[in-house]
């Protein structure tokens, strides 16, 4: 499976926050063979362990979250329409005409209705609020009442495709494309003699408050951890301080208030020594990633954060560069080999 095929396979899986088990079987089927041991948790995480074969080897955990933003049905309406609420942060201004999967008893497709211009009230400058929007399913209310219920989850329906310059576009690159960075690191390390046991943690519930990383991380009990997430790249509307963080320049290693500076420095040295492209960013806050919970697991775990730069985050047209995915894999492998 080449990198594009792998990214397509992983990112087209649906795993809305809190319902990550939707993707467990396929993950196990496609990638289970890469691990010595696999376990899943009650809080939506899929964890694979790859041992180095050495006694008392330290455990290095790589975390990427499996869950994605989505919607939850809150009302089945007349005429085959559904009212939904958001799971995670959604940009409502790109929802009109967007397609979704509705994960009822049967998986069916739907389209966010757009109000025809002649029906818009006032000057058309009203906010597009999710409370005013509906999903058109093209089904009868009877069918929907049989197959969908209040609480049924929905996810974006979008294929993953190539753009120019080794760029790709699709849904839920946040954060499934980072699962591919971990798989890529495991590929690189497959025939290498290393001194750490690797834990690949595809955690649940990140978008709804870092639920899975905290609990799966507790079980896995690592000695070191690296969170791999996406970060907003520079776009024309970005502030000046983001100007250097761009797609194609490598993984973005974060100096933050909630990560370990010694581990981050070790990470940067390993990446530098291996001649792998990377970028750095200073994030004084909590980073909005699993890094913040991994660092305070049990009695504390030195944690670093590396991110794949991304455009159009939390839309069905997230855009990333496969060069960055590859370079993050190489960076993670370099860190693992530094122990």
């Amino acid at each position: 499976m080449d990198l594009f095929e792998r990214v397509k396979t992983v990112t087209e899986m649906c795993a809305v926050s809190g319902r990550e088990h939707m993707a467990f079987a396929e993950l196990k089927d496609k990638f289970g063979h890469m691990f010595d041991e696999i376990f899943t948790t009650a809080t939506g995480s899929f964890v694979g362990i790859k041992r180095c074969g050495k006694e008392n080897a330290p455990k290095l955990l790589f975390d990427a979250h499996l869950d994605e933003i989505g919607f939850m049905v809150k009302q089945i309406c007349d005429g085959g329409f559904l009212k939904v609420t958001n799971i995670g942060g959604i940009d409502t201004k790109v929802l009109s005409a967007a397609e979704v999967w509705i994960h009822g008893k049967e998986r069916i497709s739907g389209v966010f209705a757009s109000v025809p211009p002649h029906l818009k009230e006032g000057d058309g400058k009203q906010k597009l609020l999710l409370t005013d929007m509906v999903i058109d399913t093209g089904r009868s209310k009877e069918y929907l009442e049989e197959n969908v219920q209040v609480g049924t989850v929905c996810s974006f329906k979008a294929t993953t495709e190539r753009l120019l310059g080794n760029h790709v576009v699709g849904k839920s690159f946040d954060d499934k494309i980072c699962i591919c960075t971990i798989l890529g690191a495991l590929d690189i390390l497959a025939d290498k003699d290393i001194n750490v046991d690797l834990i690949a943690q595809f955690s649940g519930g990140e978008e709804i408050g870092y639920v899975g990383a905290a609990t799966a991380g507790f079980t896995a009990d690592p000695d070191y951890a690296v969170a791999i997430d996406v970060t907003n790249s520079f776009v024309p509307e970005s502030p000046k301080r983001k100007e250097d963080n761009r797609l194609g320049n490598g993984g973005v290693i974060s100096f933050s208030g909630t990560t370990s500076r010694p581990l981050t420095k070790r990470f940067i040295k390993a990446v530098d020594d291996a001649g792998i492209p990377y970028q750095v960013v200073g994030e004084p806050g909590r980073t909005g990633t699993n890094a913040q919970v991994l660092q305070i697991l049990r009695s504390g775990v030195p944690t670093a954060l590396i991110s794949v730069p991304l455009k159009n985050m939390h839309t069905q047209a997230e855009t990333a560069c496969l060069d960055d995915v590859e370079n993050v894999s190489r960076a993670l492998a370099a860190l693992a080999q530094s122990f």
Binding site: G79, D91, V111, H118, L119, G138, L163, N232, P236, N312
Partner: protein, 340 residues
């Protein structure tokens, strides 16, 4: 007809660049026409011999073009700024995928990301002038190797069957009408009939105007797609029409008051033959009828339309039974049209 509708919907054909659609239609109908030619502005005109000849053949019209986008500026960062070809509501553009230019490059429409929006900007539609297309190029030089100012785009082809008997696609307006005309041409017709596949409807019914002058029809039937506002929460009197209720006949829209006798005839034919039909209940929109009605000596006009939700978006939704009703009524009008 469904297969043909799918094929035509997935083609690339913004106003002024209808070649791909025209070529596909020529291939489809050539063996069934007495005469077929492309006029000076790009309209495709076909004459069909009927069982009976007539000196005043009916004209059936559908437009080949679809709404789209035209590139206006390539930024230093390699982003493509654009404006729309035809009317596309701002709210359905952001986040969509487009195919651009002759090489059919994939691009996505981006605009100010949510993390950069001020609270008062959240949920607000962004003006087209602040949206841009990302094709994966990082510099102006790189982008210029692939696209040029003036290149056009359309929504990414995405035809699929949907729900209970629905279709979801871009460009149902009016490739569906083209499919109806093709189907009618392939069948035996009672009378000699003229058909025109027009260009540039979406930018002001320009093809229809020259076709009307050249063909000088006595009566014209426009096969179209029209906005169905039957979405949840919209009052019945504001819906215009409703999917599933059959072919839409229009008394008046934003451009035309339709011919009374012709309309009455269509209603009678629908009733006598148990074809589902509905009368559009708003005065809005417009189509090639206006051009046919007002060009040269003028023509009696009738529009038979399919009710389409989310028209002019990437995900228009139409019901298959409505398409069948439009085809059935169009056939009846064609084969009884002499008696208007």
């Amino acid at each position: 007809m469904l297969k043909l509708t799918e094929k035509l919907c997935n083609l690339y054909g913004p106003s002024g660049l209808e070649d791909e659609v025209r070529n596909a239609i020529i291939e489809e109908i050539s063996p069934y026409c007495e005469k077929i030619y492309t006029d000076k502005v790009g309209n495709l005109i076909a004459y069909k011999k009927g069982k009976k000849s007539t000196d005043k053949p009916l004209l059936f019209a559908a437009h080949m073009d679809e709404v789209g986008f035209m590139l206006q500026y390539i930024s230093q960062d390699g982003y493509l700024y654009f404006d729309t070809i035809g009317g596309i509501d701002n709210s359905v553009i952001g986040g969509r995928r487009l195919v651009i230019g002759e090489n059919k490059l994939l691009g996505v429409v981006a605009s100010k990301a949510i993390h950069l929006q001020k609270p008062e900007e959240r949920g607000m539609c962004i003006p087209i002038s602040e949206m841009y297309i990302d094709i994966g190029c990082k510099t102006k030089e790189d982008a210029k190797k692939h696209v040029s100012v003036g290149d056009c785009g359309v929504f990414e082809p995405n035809f699929e069957e949907f729900g209970d008997g629905f279709i979801k696609s871009k460009a149902i307006d009016d490739r569906f009408g083209c499919a109806v005309l093709c189907t009618m041409i392939k069948e035996e017709r009672e009378y000699d009939t003229m058909f025109v596949f027009t260009v540039c409807e979406e930018v002001g019914c320009r093809g229809a105007q020259t076709a009307a002058y050249s063909l000088n029809p006595e009566c014209t039937v426009v096969i179209e797609s029209t906005t169905a506002g039957d979405i949840y929460g919209v009052a019945a009197e504001r819906r215009a029409c409703k999917v599933g209720d059959g072919a839409v006949l229009t008394v008046m829209d934003g451009g035309t008051v339709y011919d009374k006798q012709f309309l009455d005839k269509a209603v009678t034919l629908a009733k006598e033959n148990s074809i589902n039909y509905q009368i559009k209940n708003t005065v809005a929109g417009g189509n090639d009828s206006r051009a046919f009605q007002t060009t040269a000596k003028g023509s009696r006009v009738l529009a038979i339309s399919a009710p389409v939700r989310y028209i002019h978006s990437a995900s228009s939704v139409v019901k298959k039974t409505d398409l069948e009703d439009v085809l059935a009524l169009a056939r009846l009008v064609a084969d009884n049209g002499k008696e208007i």
